[in-house]
């Protein structure tokens, strides 16, 4: 039976750990050997809304495994624009490719796509719902940075109310347990209560604050997010908070050497460029680990065993 990657909610802790192990094996493999693994296979990249970074990451992963890529990155010139149903598009593409990665503005599209075909489907974002490969690459990055996932003090900073990336990573870290979280946000963008309540029984604890400085001093990892202007009905409220959750080199003076900073990118001004050369910056390595994790996902779903 074929397998898909649709939602973190479908993955047990064991499955997640399996992906982390596989990514580590992929990373240690010689490039020559890796390029043979998916030779002759085709990945269909169906992006119904643009996300250049995610698309390039999947395409790079496929090319590094020796495979080929076809697809679209916007729907303007496709049959979708002529009113074709999603199921029909998927059943058509199934004839062209061995595996599909889909991004779509509507929630549930990846699940529907997976049910419409017999080749594996990867969800690269369905509306505000899920983007599981992002969460897996975040977990892999954490393991690379610290050698472990449990027992860390992790601060989430910025828009904790709407960030899908943060919500999904928090839930995944909850499955591992034994973490200490610090939620740093303006009052209006606090972590939703269902997620805070969801940590009950996970062995994780959390505190909430509006103060970024204390989080930098006391945590091992800071996961930054962008605060989007559209989230604020009152522009004055936005102006007040937008600079309160920015990190620059000056703010990092005196923080412990161990502190690492992650960000799903693209950043706007929440991390100043003068942070990039510091030992704390982990967001570009994070991009690289993303390509590694996506190779692991492609290999796993295509049943190519290492």
């Amino acid at each position: 039976m074929k397998r898909d990657l649709i939602s973190l909610n479908d993955l047990s802790l064991e499955t997640i750990q399996g992906y982390l192990e596989l990514a580590a094996r992929v990373e240690s493999m010689p490039a020559e050997e890796r390029r043979r693994l998916l030779a002759g296979r085709i990945l269909a990249v169906l992006f119904y809304e643009p996300s250049t970074r995610t698309r390039l990451s999947f395409e790079s992963a496929m090319f590094r495994l020796g495979g080929n890529v076809l697809g679209f990155s916007e729907t303007g010139s496709t049959s979708v624009a002529k009113g074709e149903s999603l199921a029909d598009t998927i059943r058509t593409v199934e004839q062209y490719a061995d595996i599909i990665v889909i991004r779509h503005p509507k929630e549930g599209t990846a699940r529907l796509s997976a049910a419409s075909c017999s080749i594996p489907v990867i969800n690269a974002g369905d509306g505000t719902n899920q983007h599981p490969s992002q969460t897996l690459l975040d977990l892999y990055t954490i393991r690379k940075l610290f050698g472990r996932i449990q027992g860390l003090r992790i601060a989430f900073v910025g828009d904790l109310k709407y960030s899908r990336t943060v919500h999904s990573l928090l839930q995944a870290l909850g499955k591992f347990g034994n973490a200490t979280f610090r939620f740093v946000s303006p009052e209006s963008l606090r972590m939703p209560s269902y997620l805070r309540d969801g940590l009950a029984g996970s062995g994780c604890t959390f505190t909430e604050t509006v103060d970024l400085g204390s989080a930098l001093a006391e945590c091992d990892l800071v996961y930054m997010t962008r605060i989007q202007k559209e989230r604020f009905p009152d522009i004055l409220e936005y102006e007040k908070v937008k600079n309160a959750y920015c990190i620059d080199a000056r703010l990092l003076r005196g923080v412990p050497e161990r502190l690492r900073i992650m960000h799903p990118l693209p950043r706007v001004n929440e991390i100043a460029p003068d942070v990039d050369p510091t030992v704390h910056a982990a967001y570009f390595p994070q991009v690289g680990y993303g390509v590694t994790m996506r190779q692991a996902i492609l290999l796993d779903l295509l049943g190519v065993k290492q």
Partner: protein
Amino acid sequence: MSTDKNSNPVLHIPKIEEGFVFDHIPAGLGPRVLELLRSYPELAEAVVTVGLNYRSGKLGSKDMLKIEVTDLPESLIRLISLVGPGITIKKISGFEVVRKLGLELPDAIDNLARCRNPNCVTNTERHVAARFERSGKAASYRCLFCERVFDLKELELLLP
């Protein structure tokens, strides 16, 4: 059944010879059950009696409904099971109860309700039936597509 003789529904609603009695409907939801019955064309001519706000030991108060037909559509029973927990259906034949069925909240709701998320693929693509599964909490259901969790009361039932 209530033990309080003054509120014994049987005294208020006449016995029926053939048909079905919907009992232990949480008070206030009787009209909802009636609405579901009325949405079936094949039941449009049937004699229906509705009683509201009977005192009931178990529920505090309850609604009750009788319909004089020989058969009920299977999908109607599934819809009524979504109105609320604990409703019982008794089949009456020759003034006697010949069968009794207690309705429980189902573990899954398949093609009987619309997802409340307007951005859910079940609402944006044609011919995609919404499916829900019982989520941890008492009467909440998770959409299998958009993964949102809704209280049963929030779901809009699909009537025939």
